[in-house]
């Protein structure tokens, strides 16, 4: 009886400790990255390579996601707009949803899936095949050489991708609105720029994307670096990294929405 009780308590304690432990590990990783950057140990060539790998090569996915997102926003706003007969407000409705929430969120989820997962898989493979130990044996700091460039590349990519996706999604929304509701794109654009939306709405989304980038980059690096156990281990790490990134993105969305409102 007592054993069962203390067992359950123990289980509850370790379950509530796990997120705190993770937060602590991520903070230590961030500190190590900041130290490497401050000490000038950041490898410039790796940074450029990472920027190309994560940024340029994610473009197709970002473009596809953004165009569909714009379309979805209009289709979802359509019944509401028609109910009130407020076609001039379509641009505003699709605009605030895209700029403040859906644009940053969906871009972050796609980047997390493509870049974050890939990053964990690459680092994890290097860890299981002892390539990190080889780097240390050559007196090369793995944080400055591998982790910091990837971290900076992911954060930069997500910020730029969100800006790009916002613009593309609104273009997509304008033409889906024209096809579906017969709202002229010029009416759509004037709804966007009529003063109900400002730069604040764009900035709101961009601040979020910076935070999301930090969450995705740090969790994907963390799970990559702590991989154990061969090929199945790499799979488990990637799985854990995408789950933590997605949950972290939504939690941060919640808190950032209130902090900067």
């Amino acid at each position: 009886m007592l054993d069962a009780e203390s067992g359950a308590l123990e289980q509850a304690r370790s379950a509530s400790e796990a997120p705190l432990r993770l937060a602590g590990r991520l903070a230590l990783l961030l500190a190590a990255i900041a130290r490497a950057v401050a000490d000038g140990e950041l490898d410039r060539r790796m940074l450029v390579k990472s920027l190309y790998e994560t940024g340029v090569r994610s473009l197709p996915i970002v473009v596809l996601t953004a165009l569909f997102t714009g379309g979805i926003m209009v289709v979802q706003a359509a019944p509401i707009v028609e109910r009130y007969g407020a076609h001039g407000l379509l641009g505003w409705g699709a605009g605030f949803g895209t700029l403040r929430e859906i644009g940053p969120l969906l871009t972050a989820l796609m980047i997390s899936g493509r870049v974050g997962a890939n990053n964990t898989a690459e680092l994890g493979t290097m860890v299981v095949t002892e390539q990190l130990d080889a780097l240390r044996a050559l007196a090369i700091d793995p944080v400055g050489f591998l982790v910091a460039p990837r971290f900076l590349a992911i954060v930069t990519t997500l910020l730029l991708a969100t800006l790009f996706a916002d613009a593309l999604a609104l273009v997509g929304a304008a033409y889906v609105g024209a096809a579906l509701l017969g709202v002229d794109p010029t009416v759509f654009y004037s709804g966007l720029t009529s003063g109900l939306l400002g730069f604040g709405d764009v900035a709101h989304g961009l601040v979020k994307s910076l935070v999301f980038g930090g969450v995705i980059a740090s969790s994907s690096c963390h799970y990559g670096l702590t991989t154990t156990g061969g090929a199945p281990g790499v799979g488990r790490s990637v799985n854990a990294a995408v789950v933590v990134s997605a949950a972290g993105v939504f939690l941060c969305d919640f808190f950032v929405s209130f902090l900067i409102a």
Binding site: A78, L109, S112, N118, G230, G233, V234
Partner: protein, 273 residues
């Protein structure tokens, strides 16, 4: 005396890249479609193993429930908050907030956001599991024993995912609505009585929401299993398969969302008012 090329070099490179991407997509879609058809075949003619399906239901459904509900709860509060603030800029009263939120949840947000979460958690899990089996040659061992991996491994995951996505969507959508209700009361002092309003939900919206559940529930396990089954190489390959699974399933969710929403609006848009 070489002829001037019809297309200039940079343009040719862009066209080449586009063509390659198009071919790659066609190849992936057609081979994933093959897995889908075989899964359907084995659903009718394959082995009966309720145990495996129940295990996968637990794995896909029960073990995602907390994750999906937690995320959807936060989403509910954020959407009510952002929507309410924006609505206040153009409309004087917020009495329609609850009804509109429920309408959006039923029609789109509950199935699509839950499916994006499932695509990440379950899709990555399926691909990692099947990918590890592929690179450690366990799939070849199955094939040697005259057992098709699609029948043994993909079919139970497919059935479990289709069923459990409905359950996850309904539960997490309810959580999102409840959290939105609390949010509306805290931020805008809307009483629960005026927030709970079913007047804007009709059969067409409910139907398109459930159609989305079905489509996502079928697409996620097929695309993820396909990514896992086609993994080749070492530990690199498992990671690559997991990445592909998440990207393909998320893109499929977004594309299906657009297609079904557009179709429903184009077909039934006039009846729903």
């Amino acid at each position: 005396m070489s002829e001037a090329p019809v297309v200039s070099e940079p343009r040719r490179r862009v066209l080449g890249a586009l063509g390659e991407a198009g071919l790659e997509t066609t190849r992936t879609v057609s081979s994933a479609y093959g897995v889908f058809v075989r899964t359907l075949y084995y659903l009718v003619r394959g082995r009966h193993e309720p145990g495996a399906i129940a295990r996968q239901m637990y794995e896909i459904g029960n073990r995602s429930l907390v994750f999906v509900s937690l995320v959807m709860g936060f989403v509910g509060v954020i959407l009510v908050y952002q929507g309410g603030i924006q609505t206040q800029r153009v409309l004087p009263d917020l009495s329609q907030l609850g009804a509109t939120f429920l309408e959006l949840l039923v029609r789109d947000l509950a199935p699509s956001l839950a499916a994006l979460m499932v695509a990440t958690r379950v899709g990555a899990g399926i691909a990692a599991e099947l990918g590890s089996m592929a690179v450690t040659e366990q799939l070849d061992a199955l094939r040697l024993s005259a057992a098709d991996p699609v029948d043994y491994l993909v079919k139970p995951r497919f059935v479990a995912s289709v069923v459990m996505l409905f359950v996850l969507t309904i539960v997490s959508g309810t959580v999102a609505y409840a959290c939105g209700l609390v949010g509306a009361q805290v931020f805008f002092e809307l009483s629960p009585r005026s927030f709970v309003d079913l007047s804007l939900v009709d059969a067409v919206y409910l139907g398109s929401g459930l159609a989305k559940c079905l489509a996502y529930g079928a697409a996620i396990p097929i695309l993820s299993a396909h990514a896992g089954l086609t993994a080749q190489g070492g530990s690199n390959a498992v990671g690559a398969a997991t990445t592909r699974a998440v990207v393909h399933s998320s893109l499929a969710v977004i594309a299906l969302d657009f297609a079904i929403s557009f179709g429903a609006h184009a077909l039934f848009g006039d009846f729903s008012r």
